[in-house]
Symmetry: C2
Subunit: 581 residues, 2 copies
């Protein structure tokens, strides 16, 4: 037997017991006539005391991260360590066996002095020995189990859908998998199980959930990975309110199980339009105020031509002053990343309000403006004028940037929030056509179906909702279209021609003709959700084996080369090359 106890188990009440322990050597202090080893496993740490001469000789071979087995007797400790569960005792060693040695470590197993990401990912098995990472893995397990218990208690069936699927339309790029048996054809890895879950509703499953692996071949960033985990759920015979109520209960349960505290408030709900107009974002971080202030009516008739021509003029107020250099940097930020034409600054310093644009404003406008934005002393107002989307997005980003840089965000707060009434379509300047803002299966609000029929796409709202936590969209969903004709009309409006409809969605349009319950659901990005709950900066901290930002697994060196013979078989090279001519 390798162990009689785990390393968090022994107590003073075990004094005198013969025990066998096994684990990693976390610390070793050789004091000559005696020595201590801190022995570590997943559960905790137990101190081992070595006094016997032979053993003192033996342990000279042992260094950090060796795996050893210790037989000994539980003894009371002279100096108690209240930081660990076993801190009242130590085990006086009678025998020590080396189970596995360790060579020199590339980095210390410690939560201080964290190494660069590449080294951590390459030696993930060492990185995961750090207590913070072990804790994250355990929290992830806890979150998964919490979700599954709640869903099961509420009558949801866990139904697994295929990974080897069909190319998904609309959305990100698919990963593809060549088929050996179906010559020249490819599977696609799912971006989400959307059509399968709707198919399950048509099958009568009534309540479905799945913790599903999803895949997107997109450029990566801190909160995106090529493969990620989605809590996917769908319910039949429900309205938006039923789903929101259920999911709110779920989110509170998971929060309690993972973070350990209760969320006692009802999640606020705001519309998409309200979120955009007031926060410049459809996933606002409401842990700080700094709402967008509309000054168009006040300044539109000034001598400042930028203001005269602008469709939107809004600004945000910060209790801080900025140097010329700082203002220039902020202006570059909104110009370069969000296409703003400029950044207008109004500041109040030494009780005096001033601005480079004041020469264009008459006293009446100045007075009205100052009274409206009500700047406190030592404060700044940043304003952007221009097209609606540019103004809102740029100010939304500026708001976040300033709040982060000025430390205005209370990191101990967790602000949940529903954003509802999303538009059905958004116009893509790039493709010169309307695209579905969520996805084409989203139910248009009953009162807006007329607009859809009349092809007035700009103003159509949907029964779609996002769940936002601290400025991150952690979940999103909608009531779905359950009528084949309406679904087909949406495809028409998206300029998907009938051939493409048949090719990509034919099976689903067919399924919609055999008795479909009204249904809707939601999908959570569980990696991101966990990241936010654990206050981590990257989803890589909460995924056991993540890829780096180039999509590589540095542990195993994936992706890698493949045998040419397999390539030829899989890819039917000749056929593909011929097709390309």
């Amino acid at each position: 037997m390798y162990r009689t106890h785990k390393l968090n188990e022994l107590r003073l009440s075990d004094e005198g017991k013969k025990v066998t322990l096994a684990g990693w050597v976390s610390k070793i202090r050789d004091l000559g006539s005696f020595a201590f080893i801190d022995l570590r496993d997943r559960y905790g740490i137990t101190q081992v005391l070595i006094k016997e001469k032979d053993l003192l000789e033996d342990i000279k071979k042992i260094s950090k991260e060796y795996v050893i087995k210790v037989e000994g007797t539980v003894t009371k400790r002279s100096s108690v360590n209240s930081k660990i569960e076993t801190g009242d005792i130590e085990v006086t060693a009678e025998n020590i066996e080396i189970l596995s040695s360790s060579k020199q470590l590339p980095f210390e197993i410690s939560d201080d002095n964290i190494q660069n990401e590449a080294i951590r990912l390459k030696h993930r098995y060492l990185d995961l020995r750090r207590s913070k990472m072990l804790n994250n893995i355990m929290k992830r397990n806890q979150m998964f189990y919490s979700i599954r218990s709640y869903m099961t208690e509420n009558g949801f069936l866990d139904v697994d859908t295929p990974i080897l699927g069909k190319a998904t339309p609309e959305g990100a790029r698919d990963f593809i998998v060549p088929s050996r048996t179906s010559k020249g054809d490819f599977y696609a890895l799912p971006q989400s199980p959307q059509l399968f879950k709707q198919t399950l509703m048509i099958a009568g499953i009534d309540k479905y959930y799945q913790l599903a692996k999803c895949f997107r071949d997109e450029d990566l960033r801190a909160d995106r990975q090529p493969e990620f985990t989605q809590l996917d759920l769908e319910m039949s015979f429900v309205h938006q309110e039923d789903i929101i109520t259920f999911v709110e209960g779920l989110a509170k349960k998971v929060f309690k199980d993972v973070v350990g505290t209760e969320v006692t408030y009802t999640f606020p709900r705001i519309t998409y339009d309200y979120a955009m107009e007031n926060y410049g974002s459809d996933k606002p971080d409401t842990r700080f105020e700094m709402k967008l202030i509309d000054i168009k009516d006040i300044v539109k008739n000034s001598e400042f031509s930028v203001f005269n021509e602008a469709k939107y003029i809004k600004g945000i107020k910060v209790n801080s002053l900025f140097s010329r250099k700082q203002v220039k940097d902020l202006e570059d930020f909104v110009k370069n990343y969000y296409g703003a034409k400029g950044l207008v600054v109004i500041k109040k310093e030494n009780d005096e309000v001033n601005s480079p644009i004041y020469k264009f404003l008459n006293d009446e406008i100045k007075n009205e403006l100052e009274s409206y934005i009500a700047l406190e002393n030592e404060s700044t107002f940043f304003s952007i004028a221009g097209e609606k989307n540019v103004v809102l997005n740029a100010l939304g980003a500026l708001r976040l940037k300033l709040a982060n840089e000025l430390n205005l965000i209370d990191k101990s707060k967790y602000n949940f929030l529903w954003v509802v009434d999303f538009p059905m379509f958004e116009y893509s300047e790039e493709e010169k056509r309307y695209k579905a803002q969520h996805h084409p299966f989203t139910k248009v609000k009953d009162e807006d179906i007329k607009l859809l029929e009349e092809n007035k796409l700009e103003d159509i709202k949907t029964d779609a909702y996002d769940l936002v936590l601290n400025g991150f969209e952690i979940g999103g969903g909608s009531i779905r279209i359950h009528d084949a004709n309406l679904q087909s009309l949406v495809f028409d409006r998206l300029l998907i021609d009938k051939d493409e409809q048949e090719n990509k969605f034919g099976f689903f349009l067919e399924a919609l003709k055999y008795g479909v319950p009204p249904h809707g659901g939601l999908a959570f990005g569980v990696d991101r959700w966990l990241m936010v709950m654990l206050n981590e900066d990257s989803i890589k901290e909460v995924i056991p084996f993540p890829k780096n930002n180039k999509g590589q697994d540095l542990l195993t060196n994936a992706p890698g080369e493949v045998d040419l013979k397999q390539l030829e078989e899989d890819l039917k090279l000749k056929k593909i090359v011929d097709n390309n001519k």
Copy 2:
């Protein structure tokens, strides 16, 4: 609100209540002055009575599988239906709304008259409405939750490992995924999370499990799919006995939750050698006896040259007689599929034993043989002589075939069984080298390490074990090698050269150098396991959306064509073509 009650909920105690129900029209009987609808959902069936004139007119539009909403009053039923939970009541309709219509069905929603597989898979959303299939989906959900509860209660962490991985060595063919960012490289979909789970043990996770999706690009058959679900588990600081004990508890718990009855016996254990010698299979179905009888010592010195030369002479006994045509078919079976040279038949008919080979046997041998095999009247003994593997495999297959055809198997029995002490290597005639019978990470028995060092591979046994249920291997595992040098020696013995070791396993051989706990585990094929528990003939009956035997998803038409632009980007055609020159 679409419904106040599900369709299994209403009872006599609800009499007089106004209720709203929604579901599928399962049956409709229009008797002129009144009509009945059987309304169905996932939970049950409730009878709706239609008496009002307008409603009787309205429901003429309704046919089977329409989705409707019914408002009405719970009333006592005149003729009770004890087959359904709501059989004491009916709901007298006051209003009926069609939520979704259904066109003519391609097949009846019924457990009788099952259609061919292709039609069922194409309309899986209808197939899953059948009560048997719905039950299978619910049992699958129950099995998953049962597993997760048990693993969680026992301190196992659910840790998810990547789907986009590195090509797996040894074993079946990989599915590959071209990488867009890493030019010309490929991910591989995992055949199992073997190296990741061992890496997790090195990371100190101690107890890991996962319901993992695994992938093998093999030719398909009834109990194989290109993607399947594996319960993968691994434990540290354990011996074989610890794992077997734990897994036996798990299997009993899952059995009880899925089948509903208790397995009260301790699972028998037999060695691999015993299984092969007695059943001609390493996964014997022990629900019937018919063990292999060794007659070599008795007949080896007869005049029959086949017997003189054979290394193995064994046979099985069946309480049945066979026509010449039947014997010929059985002989063809063992010849064509298992390479047997012939099939020797001895039969006892009208109390007389006879055989075509009797002319070669003297009376002494005949007597000894008859006394040894002790044929009852109207019985047959089938014997095969030849090489060990041919004799055992052919008789094992014949044993199963006869038992199935003669209905000798008690289908109500569930025989669990451990097979232990598997060989480490098996010789591949095809590749002219030894291959790992399980996988190269399996721990050689301590006493056989010497044989490994001496390169005597034939007789090496391992700490590997399979769990067998009714003749199916439902799980298999082993204690793993936790020593880098021993692991490397096994690779050497498998003739994997150092370059290939470094390329394929380099990261893992490196990980084995940083303090590795002794560890081991097991993997269940949960689809097959569930199939056996539910007495189904194919895993397609227990997988929500299976592929057909050509690897196609007939519902969505995957695999399919992919956009040429994506192909060019993904596959770096030029590079691949250049490499092929």
